[in-house]
């Protein structure tokens, strides 16, 4: 069996499936050599991707020279744009571009000065440059694939894998177009020099110049040039292939020359093959040996409405209007002007759009050349489209699904492998614009995929955010714990300890003196919810008191305040804030041994508040009233200033009339005492917590009761209060479900709002115990007063 190279050398050809034989009509334009048209006055050079990948190097009003770079880019695939002639940049604005949609693109409008003065050109020979320098030169010359797709050529000349075969595409299978045909006839040696550069860069085993058999002159010219060229013999070969549309398609040409198929979704380089257009080879030669950037190309101007059809060198940026005017274009009614050939070209809506690097043909057909469009008729499933399809698709099944907008099903019939060659539409007896349906379906699938991708990204982002918040929360908690531990450690050795101890001792003495009859532990269950509320409040207040009795520091005040505001569960907030404030104080105040005992107080407080919340408004109000009454009495008798200071902010929020009355009284008192107060920071601490409170009655009850309780607690010994609550802080942590608010760093108490029924039960029991104790205290206090 022959190897592929031997077969290539013998010119063995393979069959490409499908295809059609439309009338060629190339003689209309290929009879004369490539000519030049008079220089146009105005050029429109699109500068796409400026702002994204590139920056403009010129400003409005600036003089530019022919070949001067207008943009400078950074990306590897970015191709710079050059001035097609010398002149002045008169505008840099959005201008309709040469595209089926005519969407405006940022463009440089250059007014020619008529001098056509070149900028400095630096010719080189291959020996002078390294491969990278050659690639850079090709890139800086702005060379894109000249066959129509305009893919940056230097990318294809710098493949990741080994290239065995380079195919130079001179097939030009579209009817009418003859720009490559004429280029090969008129500039065969230059093309061969360009092929030499490609050979130097890729070093392939073979270079095949493929030409259709309807261009015998071009094949002959290239054959002669191959004979003359300096490349090693046997490397370059001209292969003539049968005329059939779309043999010039990259995939089809590879199949014809090598018998291989480019795997779906891959590029030919995967097979070790690269395909370049003859025009590209010419441009590469110009860039290296002349130093000229790609600023002009051969364009076939043809069709029966054009007076002098033929091939012309047109500067890129020439408007199509100027180009057609120069060759006596006479538009008829309902005239079509097609960019590209009749099979794959697109019709333009307006002619003030520029010639681009990939514009190989302008076609202005008359009516009898191209029949006016007819209405689409029913598909009779004749299957001619499937016979014509070079990609071996089932076009009529694709059409069926595309029309029904079942795009996923169309995708299942390999819609993405459609090369939009138009063979199916060409043979369709029902005049169905099949390709148009596929384009719509492809776009729809693209949009769908994009939306899916975005949705997935959003999901990932959302999950990442959740994770981040979780991490932050954990970090904060850890930090807070660390800080607390540090504080405790530092407190041991400070004088404040001594002060606190001394104050505690004083308070204890006072309490002992005041309530000699009190026994701290009387287990008694409070059945009445009213009482429970009162007692809960009292209990909390006691805890606070205990804290107040000690030296208070304001380090964490703001922390507590802001943390509270964001908490959603209001009741939980109340409980948490109050409890924390208290707990902190208690913690700070107590000696190391009593610190842990203070924590359970938090829990108790939080739980009792929960209980209170469950109670009817009425009951709550009653409790509040009772509590207030007591508070008043005790306030009068109170000698500690800071107690009132605390009561003040709490009562500010009270709406209930009674509560307000009580509050007013309390405030009045509080003010007095505030004057004498020496621990201002206590107020600050409590305030933010209470601001967040919503349940007014509960607040009233709580605030007032706290005030009362504090006093009583003051009277009692601080140590008693804290000592009563035994469970360790760890228990509290275990109970928390840990999910309420991410910013509640100290939210152990807050979290108790989310307790499970079981945990609620435990909490209630704890609350009951606390209440009982509170009652006991209340009794004592009353006795005391009496």
């Amino acid at each position: 069996m022959l190897t592929l190279l031997e077969q290539l050398d013998k010119g063995v050809l393979w069959q490409s499936p499908g295809g059609i034989h439309p009338p060629q009509l190339k003689t209309l334009s290929n009879q004369t050599t490539i000519a030049r048209l008079p220089l146009a006055r105005r050029f429109v050079v699109p500068v796409p991707l400026v702002g994204e990948q590139a920056v403009l190097t010129v400003t409005v009003g600036e003089q530019v020279l022919k070949g001067q770079m207008l943009t400078e880019g950074t990306g590897f695939t970015y191709l710079p744009v050059h001035a097609p002639t010398s002149g002045k940049v008169v505008a840099i604005e959005q201008h309709a571009t040469n595209h089926p949609s005519s969407l405006p693109t940022l463009s440089c409008v250059i007014e020619a000065d008529g001098q056509d003065t070149w900028c400095e050109l630096i010719p080189h020979s291959l020996e002078q440059l390294s491969k990278n320098q050659i690639l850079d030169k090709i890139r800086n010359a702005g060379i894109a694939g000249m066959g129509g797709a305009a893919f940056p050529s230097h990318v294809k000349l710098n493949p990741a894998s080994e290239i065995d075969l380079v195919i130079i595409n001179g097939v030009e299978c579209e009817p009418y177009i003859s720009s490559d045909d004429r280029l090969m006839r008129d500039y065969s040696d230059e093309i061969l020099k360009g092929i030499g550069v490609i050979h130097h860069l890729l070093n392939p085993q073979r270079i095949i110049i493929a030409i259709e058999d309807n261009k015998p002159e071009a094949a002959k010219a290239m054959q002669d040039a191959v004979q003359r060229c300096t490349l090693p013999t046997g490397v370059v070969r001209v292969t003539v292939i049968p005329t059939k549309y779309p043999s010039g398609g990259e995939k089809q040409l590879i199949q014809i020359i090598t018998g291989k198929e480019v795997p779906s979704g891959h590029i030919p380089a995967q097979l070790g093959i690269v395909v370049h257009n003859v025009g590209t080879a010419y441009a590469i030669q110009d860039a290296i040996y002349q130093g000229k950037p790609l600023i002009e190309r051969v364009v076939t101007l043809t069709g029966e409405q054009i007076g002098q059809p033929g091939n012309y060198w047109l500067p890129i940026g020439t408007t199509i209007n100027d180009a057609l005017q120069a060759v006596s274009f006479s538009p008829s009614a309902a005239q079509k002007v097609i960019v590209g050939g009749p099979m794959m070209g697109y019709a333009l809506a307006g002619l003030d759009v520029p010639i681009l690097k990939g514009t190989n043909c302008l076609l202005a057909p008359s009516h009898h050349e191209m029949a006016p469009d007819v209405d689409e008729k029913a598909c009779i499933r004749c299957g001619e489209c499937a016979v014509a399809c070079p990609a071996l698709l089932l076009p009529q099944q694709l059409f069926w699904h595309a029309k029904a907008e079942e795009y996923d099903k169309a995708a299942g019939f390999n819609l993405k492998d459609c090369i939009e060659c138009g063979c199916c539409s060409y043979v369709c007896p029902s005049d169905i614009p099949l390709v148009e349906y596929y384009r719509v379906a492809k776009s729809a699938l693209k949009i769908e995929a994009e939306e899916k991708r975005q949705a997935e990204q959003a999901k990932i982002r959302f999950e990442a955010r959740l994770q981040r918040l979780e991490d932050e929360k954990n970090a904060r908690e850890a930090k807070a714990k660390e800080a607390a531990a540090k504080r405790q450690a530092s407190m041991k050795s400070t004088d404040k300890d001594a002060v606190a101890a001394a104050m505690a001792r004083i308070a204890a003495k006072k309490a002992q003196a005041a309530s000699s009859t009190v026994s701290p532990e009387v287990p008694q269950v409070a059945a009445d919810p009213k009482k429970a509320a009162v007692n809960a409040a009292i209990e909390r207040a006691k805890a606070k008191k205990a804290a107040q009795a000690n030296t208070v520091r304001s380090e964490n005040e703001l922390d507590t305040g802001t943390a509270e505001v964001n908490v959603d569960d209001k009741q939980a907030k109340i409980a948490a804030a109050v409890a924390r404030a208290k707990a902190k104080k208690a913690a700070q105040a107590n000696a190391e041994s009593t610190t842990q005992k203070a924590n359970p107080t938090e829990t108790t407080a939080a739980e009792t508040v929960l209980t209170t919340d469950a109670i009817d408004d009425k009951q709550a109000r009653v409790a509040a009233a009772v509590a207030k009454a007591k508070a008043k009495k005790r306030a009068q008798a109170n000698q500690t200033n800071d107690t009132t200071a605390k009561t003040e902010p709490s009562t500010e929020a009270i709406d209930d009339k009674q509560a307000r009355v009580a509050a007013a009284v309390a405030k009045a008192k509080a003010k007095k005492r505030a004057q004498a107060n020496q621990t201002d920071d206590t107020t600050a601490k409590t305030e933010p917590s209470t601001e967040a409170i919503d349940d007014k009655q509960a607040r009233v009850a709580a605030a007032v009761a706290k005030a009362k309780a504090k006093k009583r607690a003051q009277a009692n010994q601080t140590d008693d209060t804290t000592a009563k609550t035994e469970p360790s802080a760890e228990v509290v942590d275990d109970q928390s479900t840990g999910d309420i608010a991410p910013n509640a760093a100290l939210a152990n108490a807050t979290e108790s709002a989310d307790l499970s029924p079981e945990q609620m039960k435990k909490a209630k029991v704890a609350a009951a115990v606390a209440k009982a104790k509170a009652k006991q205290l209340a009794k004592r206090a009353e006795q005391e007063e009496q």
């Binding site: 499936p17 439309p22 089926p100 009817p175 995939k251 199949q255 291989k260 198929e261 480019v262 795997p263 779906s264 979704g265 538009p331 005239q335 079509k336 002007v337 097609i338 009749p342 099979m343 794959m344 070209g345 697109y346 019709a347 333009l348 809506a349 307006g350 057909p365 191209m370 029949a371 469009d373 209405d375 008729k377 029913a378 598909c379 009779i380 499933r381 004749c382 299957g383 499937a386 016979v387 990609a391 071996l392 698709l393 089932l394 009529q396 099944q397 019939f413 390999n414 492998d417 939009e420 138009g422 539409s425 060409y426 043979v427 369709c428 007896p429 029902s430 005049d431 614009p433 390709v435």
Partner: protein, 350 residues
Amino acid sequence: MAFKIASSPHVSTSLHTNTVMKRVALCLIPGIAVQSYYFGFGTLVQILLAVSVAYLAEAAVMKLRNKNIKATLSDNSALVTACLLAVAIPPLAPWWLIVIGTLFAIVIVKQLYGGLGNNVFNPAMAAYVLLLISFPVQMTSWVAPQTIAMNHASLLTSVQTIFEINQSFAAEYFRLGIDGIAMATPLDTLKTDLSMGLTTTESLAKPIFSGMAAEGWFWVNLAYLIGGLVMLKLKVIRWHISVAIIASLFLCASFSFLVSPDTFVSPLMHLFSGGTMLAAFFIATDPVTAATSPKGRLIFGAIIGVLIYLIRTFGGYPDAVAFAVLLANMCAPFIDYYVRPRSYGHRTGN
């Protein structure tokens, strides 16, 4: 000025649906001519009747559907359907038979499914089966070939008989027998004979047969074959379905004939009697109701060929084309679903 924009490609072939349909109808002419020669002018009258009814029916439906009547009628698909049904039914069948059949074919089988391109079943064959089941006597009484008939119907008599004006001829017509004007089709005769214990050779000795094939029918089939070849040449149809039908029928018949020549019909007899060639080139190749891919069409044709053989040999009806085509129509969507060509770049292991 504003320029006209359109999606590519901007050129197309001149072969349009109406041309394709017209060519199908034109290629029927040799067959119709030979059929008329052997079985009288009845066929022509039936065609005229069927075509008129088909166009009227289609126009009425288009009016009801608020569609362009002219555009639809000019696609010539109704013409082809009407012609196919008309040549398939007995030439002297009463007028209401073809009217019912055509109405059913156009209105129900074609238009109620969404018109051209959307019908699941071949309209002509669906109508044929409807008539065969509903009016078996009228549908199985063929005119005797002119060459052996005692009394041949003239154009006038044919019209009179079809429109039931002159009942005398009709009475005679339905008197089956060798000396009558009407008789069972050769395949029917053969089937009956074989079931009565006669050998193929004995049965073939009857005057209705000439040589290896049936009198007249051989030439009719040959004419349709020629018309079919012209269609192939004009690329109106592709070869896959026709070749598959003929090949599979021939293979099945040859096999059984080689095993037992006395009890089975010869392959040649199968190919050149009844509606074999009409089916192979004109009926089964209706693209709307056939499979679309080349491979799928081979399968589709093979199914029809095998079914024709099976129904003719073991079934209750003498000819089987209509049933075979309808059954294969049902299979077409499945064939299309499972038989897909390998697209470019999807080669396994590449």
